[in-house]
Symmetry: C2
Subunit: 126 residues, 2 copies
DNA sequence: TTAAAAATGATAATGATTATTATTATCAAT
DNA sequence: ATTGATAATAATAATCATTATCATTTTTAA
């Protein structure tokens, strides 16, 4: 995989944003910094970054797909009202793969744990 | 919500199938039993059944959406090779919502835990 | 049984993602 | 620095899953 300015920028913007944007949202964020960039390039590079492990996909509730740059193990909480994706610390559930292995024999390459509910913002606004 | 033959059949077929089909696959399975049924009806009823809690959505790896009739709490293992969805027993990780609450204060309405890896079939076929 | 409400089938519309294609950027080897 | 091979890009068309529309049919409750 060769270097490209577009891919670097996409990863940078993802790293500087804690919002877990969708491909479309990311396109919006990147465009002011590189107006000529194409939406297809955003999709293509997100797929490449996911493939090489630098970025993770998160499936939203409404079928939307969000992207998260990989730092350390953590989980997610998605608000059923505003659809925002929040981080949940790893210590909520540790070593799930070990438990899986010992109970079922299956070996997991990765694990996704996602909670759904009302975030505190949405609870208060009702 | 009124009764409908189509909805009853959709739920029956889902209950008798451990395969976690997609909407499209379910349409294929239902059509021989009721040739006049429409794909839109399958989608419409799956959404209604999800809304009323009789059926659960599972996000596949490739963006596909699978459906699972709700019986008791359990999790999933998706094969990265054949994309099949397997059930994982609840005792792999119990009471995650309680842990979430005590560590973050967030209250989860539902929890989805999904492992990804090679299923034993695909491991053997290599 | 009959009218109102809900559900259906058929199909068009939508929207997210991927494929295509001509052009441009990258990079190792001259 | 220049070249050639390859990979990446922008723009846009194509694809495919899902949803909306609407005329017709079923269901339900009075």
């Amino acid at each position: 995989m060769n270097y490209s300015k577009q891919r670097e920028l996409i990863l940078d913007v993802l790293r500087q944003n804690p919002v877990h944007p969708t491909a479309d949202k990311l396109y919006e964020l990147v465009r002011p910094l590189m107006p000529s960039i194409s939406l297809a390039t955003v999709y293509r590079n997100l797929n490449l970054l996911v493939e090489c492990g630098a970025v993770r996909k998160i499936s939203g509730l409404d079928g939307s797909v969000h992207y998260d740059h990989c730092v350390e193990k953590h989980y997610h909480f998605i608000c059923t009202c505003c659809n925002k994706v929040y981080d949940v610390p790893y210590n909520v559930a540790q070593d799930l793969e070990l438990k899986l292995k010992s109970l079922t024999g299956l070996e997991a390459q990765s694990t996704e744990l996602t909670f759904k509910g009302l975030c505190s913002d949405c609870q208060n606004s009702n």
